[in-house]
Symmetry: C2
Subunit: 425 residues, 2 copies
Amino acid sequence: MKRAQLASGVSIRRSLGEANADQLAAVKEVIGKVRAEGDDALLHYTQKWDGVELDDLHVSPEEMAAAVDRFDAQLLEDLAEAADNIRTYHQLQELQGFRHTNPNGSYMGQRVTPIRSAGLYVPGGTAAYPSSVLMNVIPAQVAGVKRIVLVSPPGKDGKLSDGVLAAAHILGIDEIYKVGGAQAIAALAYGTETIAPVDKITGPGNVFVALAKREVFGDVAIDMIAGPSEIAVIADDTAFADEVAADMLSQAEHDPMASAVLLTTSEELADKVAAEVVRQLQSLPRQSIAARSIADHGSIFIGETMDELINAANELAPEHLEIMAEGAESIADRIDNAGAIFIGRYSSEPVGDYFAGTNHVLPTNSTARFSSALSVYDFLKRTSIIHYSEQAWQENEAKIARLARLEGLEGHARAVESRSWKKEN
Amino acid sequence: MKRAQLASGVSIRRSLGEANADQLAAVKEVIGKVRAEGDDALLHYTQKWDGVELDDLHVSPEEMAAAVDRFDAQLLEDLAEAADNIRTYHQLQELQGFRHTNPNGSYMGQRVTPIRSAGLYVPGGTAAYPSSVLMNVIPAQVAGVKRIVLVSPPGKDGKLSDGVLAAAHILGIDEIYKVGGAQAIAALAYGTETIAPVDKITGPGNVFVALAKREVFGDVAIDMIAGPSEIAVIADDTAFADEVAADMLSQAEHDPMASAVLLTTSEELADKVAAEVVRQLQSLPRQSIAARSIADHGSIFIGETMDELINAANELAPEHLEIMAEGAESIADRIDNAGAIFIGRYSSEPVGDYFAGTNHVLPTNSTARFSSALSVYDFLKRTSIIHYSEQAWQENEAKIARLARLEGLEGHARAVESRSWKKEN
């Protein structure tokens, strides 16, 4: 783990690599083939890459019921409770329409409506996370999206994971297709005989999925392209080193590219956390991943004052920021840039990943400077409403025509004035 | 102008071309050079492409004052009144923070803060629109963005247009740089000696600007990449053909790629509008642009019923939709997908471009299915807040650990459980 003194003017951000040109070419080919050949292309790629020959891309009601039956009853209850918490939180995310009326009878407004359809990509294999289903579907449901589709690559047995289907079941999602990779993104964006296109695609995925989402962006909406997980911890000498280390490792175990950063005023804590990370790594099942993450992207920064730590956190703009320090709440108030802030010792980061109710889809790679957690707002759109009364037009026509002519747009001026041509006729 | 009967199942959307690979390569080179050489690269490209050698990229207070002095007093007043209207409308766009507290002492919240800095690109030459300055800057100001920067390419005289500077003056913007093209976008994204980087870049531009925005996307936020202007008009036999035609031409004059579409139940109106478009085109200063737009992208669709027109409008998801028909308001209520809806005869589209108060930066190319007008929300970000009390942790620790283990993330489970190790020690 790297260790450094914070210094003003030195960036502590990291920068991530560029996409691979071969991978991009492969993704473009897949998208082209799906657009041209539809379901045939989906079945072809599913055989090629998932190693299974399917007759039907649908998950049948029987498959769904069997998966739920097989699934552990206690875990089903845990997932349902998590879903309730997530729904409670997201229901507080309201976007108001409004109408502003003028005395001259004109009005301007904003109408808020849900997008019509959304597709959620769920990765396969060990990354088939039921929690991702909850975190992506619930905001869309709260927004009022009518059609929500789930796609995920089948295992070699031609099935999706019981956990993913159990989570979908809890949420009442029943339009589910067994297809993954760039081909699934293409199907959601452009449609096939079986899969009608959607207006927005969300959800995590491997590099091919991420590149495909970037490619179809504009034809459909996408969520952010998530980078590797990140955690930063602001801690002073009141923090417990084993807890700080465990939380850092919880992100490091995601990905060798994940980053875990400690920002502290305490040299003593820094020493203890460094030792604890090494100790806890020894027994971690995902040791090899976490060890690479810590070696390549783990850092401890020592600051003289809490102000320095706060500035560094704002510069880093981490996905997750934990604060385990005296006055944690007032420190949190001074953080502008972070995806999510976990305040106090008992707010370990996985609390937010699974259960508290906030969304675990968060901005990475310093984009918390301008991006935010996945939310209900992401599934809503706004339409501006303009009504000019005859009086409003009379009062303002000349001004509007002057401004249009200032910009050299005579046709704009004449359009507004065309209403007066009528009067003179 | 093309003319067709609406038919169900036939898409009336159009699709736009791909970016040119040579242009993209040129943009990447510019960005690389600006990152490597900073101001020198900016001055180099300004000499090369804008044909002017500058010592200083800043617009000085003296230049600003001189521009405002030269600017027409009546137009200054018109711009200021437009700015007031735009501010009044945008002040209604509120995004609420909240905090949800549980009886166990835990709370989850959402904190809303402005992004720290924003850069607005204003095109040069005939596309240096003062209205763009108002429409991009005011939402950022209402959001509370502290630093707002304006960049625009200088003319051969080394100056920016008086209109753009007058608009900036009205809004109190004084950090303005004379630099345009991809080099300006690179400077805003990565910074140079003179220009500190910003967190979000908005504003229209030519293909090089659009490609550069796409390239820097992720390192900074960008607004949508605007496509050619679009207008659709829903009209029945109560509409006046000359007004419909004038409004269609007001968008056609923007760009040969702009599209103007009439959706009507009236064959008679269709005939009259087609004739009026031809008649009005004859005297339009931007005739050649508008004529190409009408020939290539102008369409009249005839429907049997108003329902068909409404369905077609929702499928088209136009940037601007005018409704000049009996029951315009209730028709508007049934439109899900449109950037802005102009209700009734006096709500000519330029009313929204310049003056009514709504934003004229709107989603094009059918993206109104999932995108919305530029807004105050675009300059705000949200941070999730999670606080777990000791009691909340005790109640939920086992559930969270189970869910983490379901996903194979032992480190997550141990992080949450690490708090109990402490108690047992």
